[in-house]
């Protein structure tokens, strides 16, 4: 497979002695927003972390543009692929600007000074996440939602074509959730960035995704356009939830109403 894109080919992933992903093949279509949904502990995060090369594979391989990611130099990979992890503790004393600046690491080198391009990338990232007025505050002094946006600024400053986001909206209130998802969609539409996200809210997923992937018990249950796959049957199959799917009055897409 020498086509452009990120492909997981029959991968088998274990964590702490347990098999999480028994045999999974997954292709990330470039230039799209893909959202992975599923019940708790179905392996969504594990899939994302495997794609980001954080987890070793017991079998199979993950290929980016035809090259096995486990054989690529770390720095090169970091310039193409960024991951926003689920939760992380910032070291004491680090400011929001400092944290976002860490995102420039793959573009830096021991003796290469901080350039104008680096500073601009950080400013853009802070602006996009609405954290510019908090730039000099220490991360530990922020609220949960602000902290999440600071970490998102780090991922954005990294300036990669591929961005993986693991539950980027967990601690945010609804307005901020919408804001972040709109930002993500803008990143995709304006600069063609490929986004893969894990979201726990199926309705938000339907709103923002070009493609939805449903996972259950470590396997892919279905994938396709939101209009096609967000149906009452699929929701019952995935979550065991009885629901009704109606057209969203604003966007026209599917809206899940639990029974």
């Amino acid at each position: 497979m020498t086509t452009a894109g990120l492909f997981a080919d029959n991968i088998h992933v274990r964590l702490a002695g347990k098999t999480i992903l028994p045999e999974l093949s997954f292709g990330l279509t470039m230039g799209e927003v893909t959202v992975i949904v599923g019940p708790n502990a179905c392996g969504k995060s594990t899939l994302l972390r495997s794609l980001a090369r954080l987890l070793p594979l017991s079998a199979g391989q993950i290929v980016l543009d035809g090259h096995d990611i486990h054989r690529q130099p770390t720095k090169q990979l970091a310039r193409r692929l960024g991951l926003l992890p689920q939760s992380s503790e910032a070291p004491a004393g680090l400011t929001v600007h400092g944290l976002a600046a860490r995102g420039r690491t793959p573009h830096q080198a021991p003796f290469r000074p901080w350039t104008r391009a680096d500073e601009e990338a950080v400013e853009k990232a802070l602006n996009a996440t609405g954290m510019d007025h908090l730039a000099e505050r220490p991360v530990e002094a922020l609220s949960g939602g602000q902290r999440q946006r600071a970490w998102l600024a780090l991922a954005l400053a990294q300036d990669t074509d591929l961005l993986l986001l693991d539950e980027p909206t967990t601690y945010l209130d609804l307005p901020h959730q919408i804001e972040i998802l709109d930002l993500v969609r803008r990143l995709n539409r304006d600069s063609g960035r490929t986004i893969a996200m894990v979201l726990h809210d199926i309705n938000l997923a339907a709103r923002v995704a070009d493609r939805i992937v449903g996972m259950k018990d470590g396997r892919i249950a279905f994938e396709g356009k939101p209009a096609d796959v967000v149906t009452a049957d699929r929701m019952a199959e995935l979550f065991g939830l009885n629901c009704v799917v109606i057209p969203d009055p604003l966007s026209g897409g599917p809206l899940v109403v639990p029974a």
Binding site: A52, R53, L54, P56, T74, K75, Q76, L77, A78, R79, G82, L83, P85, S88, E89, A90, P91, A92, G93, L94, G98, R102, G103, T105, P106, Q108, A109, P110, Q158
Partner: protein, 325 residues
């Protein structure tokens, strides 16, 4: 960027302080020097200055710098303020090696070799046992601790069973001292420091980015395991070199890092400042050792914690007050 300028300013201040202490220490001693006669290269004053005081002071400065930097590297790369080569077995290995050579050869002729050998063997063992698909900081720390405690117990045991003359040698060596350290000692340390410093300078980039965790560092393209291995080896070489010259000076490696970070108010490692802090405290300790106390001369190792401890405590309390205001 203001933290960088503060770091630079504090480092320059520390260098000046070190220079001032060095001048004081060169002028102090039981033999009063006549300046500027001493600066010439002949005569008794010159001999005292150039053959005795200068090399001893340089050895103290360089040993302190090696220990300070070594401690700071360990603490940062293992993400633990309690990590220092004293605690994590490497200086214990050097001590055990040195003490074993004293006990076996009955004298201090091969102490340096014993110390270097002991430190080297211990490090290899610890790193090898801790390596499992990479170098996990916690595993490294724990195995190092085990070695440290075991080797200290062994050292104490050797102390208990050795004859009185050897016991005296052992104790004097274990106390840490710069007595009769001359140009060969100073030059050895200078060479080691000159070789390791560029390595650390290069690795400082990665070192400063380990604090957010290994996963994130790898995501950002850093080669964490390789960096940690080389950082660890560099730190061990520095510590072993220092210990082989002057014995296991307590506390210097532990306190230099925190002192540097608190003075510079910087979340990153401040290796240069740690080296300066270590050097200054060690030089002061040696000065105290030479001055003595009512006719008693105690080795420098006694004074490092007596001086450094209260200073570190003071800084911690000051920082608390500042944080609460």
């Amino acid at each position: 960027m203001s933290s960088v300028t503060r770091k630079t300013a504090v480092s320059m201040g520390a260098a000046l302080a070190l220079a001032a202490v060095a001048i004081v220490t060169l002028r102090t001693g039981s033999w009063p020097l006549a300046w500027p006669d001493a600066l010439s290269l002949t005569g008794m004053d010159a001999t005292i200055l150039w053959e005795l005081r200068m090399p001893r002071a340089l050895a103290a400065i360089l040993a302190g710098a090696c220990l300070g930097v070594s401690g700071a590297v360990f603490q940062t790369m293992l993400r633990n303020p309690l990590a220092s080569p004293d605690l994590i077995g490497f200086t214990a290995g050097a001590s055990a090696g040195a003490v074993a050579t004293i006990a076996v050869t009955g004298g201090t002729a091969y102490v340096t070799a014993g110390a270097v050998g002991g430190g080297f063997v211990t490090s290899v063992l610890v790193f090898a046992l801790a390596w499992r698909n990479g170098l996990d900081p916690l595993r490294l720390v724990l195995i190092g601790l085990v070695f440290g405690i075991t080797l200290m117990a062994l050292t104490n045991f050797l102390l208990g069973v050795s004859g009185p003359v050897q016991a005296g040698d052992v104790i004097r060596w274990l106390a840490g001292s710069f007595n009769a350290r001359g140009w060969s000692a100073a030059l050895t340390l200078a060479v080691v420091l000159a070789l390791i410093a560029p390595v650390l300078w290069y690795l400082a980039f990665t070192l400063d980015r380990l604090d957010t965790g290994d996963d994130l560092a790898r995501l950002l393209g850093l080669r964490v395991d390789a960096a940690r291995l080389f950082l660890g080896l560099s730190a061990v070489v520095l510590a072993s070199a220092a210990v082989s010259i002057c014995g296991p000076l307590p506390f210097v490696a532990f306190m230099a890092g925190p002192i540097a970070r608190m003075l510079a108010r910087s979340p990153t490692s401040c290796l240069l400042l740690a080296g300066l802090a270590g050097a200054t405290i060690t030089l002061l300790a040696d000065l105290a050792a030479r001055i003595g106390f009512q006719g008693f001369h105690l080795p420098a190792g006694i004074y490092t914690a007596l001086i450094g401890g209260p200073y570190l405590l003071g800084l911690v309390l000051l920082q608390t007050k500042r944080n609460r205001l």
